[in-house]
């Protein structure tokens, strides 16, 4: 009976809703005119073509559908699409050339204080900000492709920008060349899943004051830095790829003032630093792979009660580095390819504890140009003797049960 009612309701709705076509070959040529004509619940189909109509405002609950990828051109003067209604669907548009302004932040597509908006299958090209959710709830951003071309941080906006929102889903988008690929500020209870953020000038993904979120199976490659998580707690980071984030202060993952989070099964490869931690506490780093990074993890002395367990450290120049002598974090059962101990009782754990912090990592932290001497015979000797008799490196910086074999991650 219940189902019947729902079906009946849907049926009656569809009866009421009409479909309006906009396009060269149709009676209505203008998108704006189409929106004016539409009623809540209607579907507006925009056919392929080039529409230069300034700022298009959607102020009623409609399905806004592009067919054959119609182009909405902001001509670098306008915000292209502004959504001022709940439950709007925007699907299949190519949104290009939004204006550039520092105060109003004009966007390709912007949602103003609404909920249940679905933005999918769009292409955004050369916009200041890409997709902007302002104070919105229960929105989905899915399958969009965003690209920007600026060179300077100041002249670029973020790809997907969410501010003061909650219950957001960001799925399978591709963001390239923006300032931050995805930016979260005061966003809670949201999920970022299967996105690819490459070549962004600042961060692939940027969290500020955004608690209780998760990002899963994303790829962050060749950004200024992969992901920055700042002033936040309870973030879950699973199955992501952080690759080739190279540069002076480039990190795969930058953690600053965050707590109670879980970093699981990620892959950090060929970054200048895999993870950089500052003022971080109660974080568990488990089953991640750190491979061919300059520094696997940089753990500043301000970090405490973090657990680093069951990770693989392979081919990194330095596995771990720190700036102080205070160690309040625990390392346990990681695999270190530089470990040279033995396992007589055959339990898979080395019988000799491993000190992952090399003397030279400490030296370069203080005197960066010492890097010049890295891997010289002299330095190798010093490092070896330091391993036997730790004098400069803190001796409680230790993995007591290093694994003999790398974990299959």
């Amino acid at each position: 009976m219940k189902y019947f009612l729902i079906i009946f309701l849907l049926f009656s709705l569809s009866l009421k809703a009409t479909t309006i076509h906009v396009g060269k070959k149709h009676a209505i040529k203008s998108v704006k005119r189409g929106i004016t004509l539409a009623k809540a619940g209607d579907t507006l189909i925009v056919h392929g073509g080039w529409y230069k109509e300034g700022n298009i405002i959607i102020d009623k609950k409609i399905v806004f559908l592009g067919k054959d990828l119609p182009v909405l051109d902001g001509e670098k003067k306008h915000e292209v699409l502004s959504i001022h209604a709940d439950s709007v669907v925007v699907d299949g548009f190519k949104v290009i050339r939004s204006a550039y302004a520092t105060i109003t932040d004009p966007c390709g597509i912007k949602v103003y204080n609404k909920s249940h908006v679905l933005i999918q299958n769009n292409v955004l090209d050369d916009n200041f900000f890409g997709i902007y959710l302002q104070n919105s709830q229960n929105c989905i951003i899915k399958n969009n492709t965003l690209k920007a071309y600026g060179k300077e941080e100041q002249k670029l906006g973020n790809g997907i920008h969410c501010w003061k929102s909650k219950d957001i889903l960001i799925i399978a988008n591709r963001i390239d060349g923006h300032r931050d690929g995805i930016y979260f500020e005061f966003v809670t209870n949201s999920v970022i899943w299967r996105n690819i953020a490459n070549n962004n000038i600042r961060y692939g993904l940027h969290f500020m004051f955004s608690n209780d979120d998760a990002y899963i199976t994303n790829v962050f490659k060749n950004n200024g830095a992969g992901v920055a998580v700042m002033f936040t707690k309870n973030v879950k980071m699973f199955n992501n790829y952080f690759e080739e984030n190279w540069g002076d202060s480039a990190y795969g993952l930058l953690l600053k003032e965050i707590s109670d989070s879980y970093i699981f099964n990620n892959r950090f490869a060929r970054n200048t630093s895999g993870i950089y931690m500052e003022g971080t506490s109660r974080i568990k780093v488990e089953k991640n792979s750190f491979e061919s990074n300059g520094w696997g993890m940089k753990i500043q002395a301000s970090c405490m009660e973090n657990e680093i367990v069951n990770n693989n450290f392979l081919k990194n120049t330095f596995d771990i580095s720190t700036n102080g002598s205070l160690v309040l974090n625990t390392f346990n059962a990681n695999y270190w390819d530089k470990y040279e101990g033995y396992d007589l009782d055959k339990d898979g754990m080395g019988d000799v504890p491993y000190h992952p912090l090399s003397l030279f990592a400490v030296l370069t932290e203080n005197t960066p140009s010492a890097m010049l001497l890295y891997r010289s015979f002299m330095i190798t000797l010093l490092d070896k003797s330091e391993k036997v008799l730790p004098s400069i490196t803190p001796d409680n910086f230790v993995d007591n049960k290093p694994l003999m074999k790398s974990l299959p991650l």
Binding site: W246, G247, D248, S249, A250, R270, N271, T272, S273, S292, N293, G294, W295, L314, K315, N316, T317, F318, D337, T364, N366, T367, P368, S369, A370, M371, L372, L373, Y374, R375, S376, F377, M378, I379, T380, S406
Partner: protein, 255 residues
């Protein structure tokens, strides 16, 4: 010239030390590559071989060989051959032998296990280091007639470049840590062929670290094609200049 090089080469190749050197290099390389499922240990082993073993063996073997072939040189000198030709042939013969030994012992496992820019760079630098230290051996053996002194000098030269030079640089680095000395440091590396080779390899082996702040200084210079050319020119000079000096001395030497 070719005839003499051929004669010298065939003599060196039959030398048991060169054979043993090749064999040890190849056992070391293959086993260190086979030991781990990733190539990093093998690469590090070969890096240490290039920075440590290759210079030592090249300079020692070449010095001893030169002293031992004093008779041979005398014999050749009584024949209608230019002095310059004899010395050049010895140099080419010895360099070729050492490069070959390195190539067969370490180069082939390198190319098989790491056929990328790292492997290629290591191979190139290993060969250059071989030649450079053969040239230094020519210098040390021409400077003194006494075999024991000559070998001692060769060991000192090796020790200086393999260890003492870096020690001095390290000392300097910490003495002058307060000053902006990065550029000066780049210049200082030119004074040691081992350091030049090491940094070239480092830029490929530890590319991620070199992209960061600490390595960026060196990346900015050595990583550019100009820096690459400059450092290879410098490395070549390290082979050419010692040999040239030794050649001038040899031309004036009484036998």
């Amino acid at each position: 010239m070719n005839r003499i090089i051929k004669i010298i080469l065939s003599d060196i190749i039959r030398n048991k030390i060169v054979l043993a050197y090749t064999l040890i290099l190849s056992i070391l390389s293959w086993s260190s590559f086979a030991l781990e499922d990733n190539s990093s240990k093998g690469l590090l082993t070969i890096l240490n071989v290039i920075l440590f073993t290759v210079p030592l063996v090249s300079i020692l073997f070449a010095t001893i060989y030169l002293y031992n072939s004093a008779e041979f040189i005398e014999l050749l000198l009584s024949q209608p051959i230019k002095r310059r030709k004899i010395w050049l042939s010895l140099f080419f013969g010895l360099s070729t032998a050492m490069v070959f030994a390195f190539f067969i012992g370490a180069g082939i496992p390198l190319l098989v296990n790491s056929p990328d820019s790292i492997g290629f760079m290591m191979l190139l630098n290993g060969c250059l280091i071989s030649v450079i230290f053969v040239a230094l051996a020519f210098l040390s053996s021409i400077l003194t007639r006494d075999k024991a002194k000559g070998i001692g000098l060769a060991i000192m030269i090796w020790l200086y470049f393999a260890l003492l030079f870096d020690g001095m640089v390290l000392f300097l680095l910490f003495q002058l840590a307060e000053y902006p000395i990065e550029n000066m440091m780049v210049g200082i590396t030119a004074f040691s062929p081992i350091d030049l080779a090491r940094i070239q390899i480092l830029l490929h082996l530890d590319v991620s670290a070199m992209m960061g702040y600490t390595g960026a200084i060196f990346k900015d210079f050595f990583g550019t094609s100009v820096g690459l050319i400059v450092s290879f020119v410098l490395l070549s000079l390290w082979a050419i200049i010692p040999f040239f000096i030794s050649m001038r001395k040899f031309n004036k030497k009484d036998l």
